[in-house]
Symmetry: C2
Subunit: 145 residues, 2 copies
DNA sequence: TTATTATATAGGATTAATTCTTAATTGCAA
DNA sequence: TTGCAATTAAGAATTAATCCTATATAATAA
């Protein structure tokens, strides 16, 4: 698949750039998370990979995800005290979180992208990223009640 | 102190509203968190209270904070997989998070308050809250490097 | 290629965070 | 007051995250 090849190439570049080895584990983990849009936890990725890669340890998955986060291959999304959740989507986007089922859904909006950093905030901090975070009830949970 | 009395009254109202008992533990915990602006974890609140209330258990602090969160007395702030952090500030506000020291600083901005919920998002979700979340380097950490 | 070496991994141990269990206590309504 | 349902303390159990170390391996250079 095209997107898979692209993923390995992106990974390879980043590894070379940071002097990291391109191991089968790293490839499997990066490909696994690239196929998600639900911001999975380390444990979810671990379980997903277990079938194809029975010898992999949870520690490797967790450590690798943190490494990826450190080199900017993915981000830890803002959560609410539950296990860390990872997001391979580096494009500017926003999040909606359901307070019932705790799902985090990507929101794309030019309008939100265009929200500016006011001058007084710029002088207080070095702002590297911004995001609009919405919360409420998702469609599925709305149906249930 | 005036703000302290106010805190107890707010707590009492909410407790009556939800059929909860007004216990000394709840009062102590609510007053403690009302005096913070640094979005402390349950553990920090626990340590803060320990001096005045040596018999209180960590579990009580944690459970009580979650109860407060459930009845809307405070909120669990968006974090990054670390222990839950609580925010008694229910006024519309925004957050800046330092990626170095993990401090979360309140940001007040009329401009950010005025950011709207687009129509297509309203139709997908029942949006109950919104916040602009900034991240970057805070002043203190900028000095260090 | 092959040898070398620094890095990475597996798997179990450890630590930390959170939640559960239970017996005792205590607000508060009657 | 009294009775009872809600709440608490304390420790156990569970779950999440990190650390340790012996082994394996990717990448480099001969």
């Amino acid at each position: 698949m095209n997107t898979q090849r692209a993923a390995v190439e992106i990974l390879r570049e980043k590894c070379v750039e940071h002097g990291l080895k391109l191991t089968p584990q790293r490839i499997a983990i990066y490909e696994a998370i690239c196929h998600t849009t639900d911001h999975p936890s380390a444990d979810k990725i671990f379980k997903k990979i277990k079938g194809k890669f029975p010898s992999m340890s949870f520690d490797t998955v967790n450590r690798t995800l943190l490494t990826f986060s450190a080199i900017g291959l993915l981000k830890v999304v803002e959560g609410h005290g539950d296990p860390k959740r990872f997001d391979p989507n580096l494009k500017q986007h926003h999040h909606f979180r359901c307070i019932r089922c705790n799902t985090i859904i990507d929101v794309y909006s030019r309008y939100y992208d265009s929200v500016k950093i006011p001058q007084d905030i710029q002088s207080r901090f070095t702002v590297l990223g911004k995001r609009v975070v919405l919360e409420g009830i998702c469609k599925q949970c709305r149906k249930k009640s």
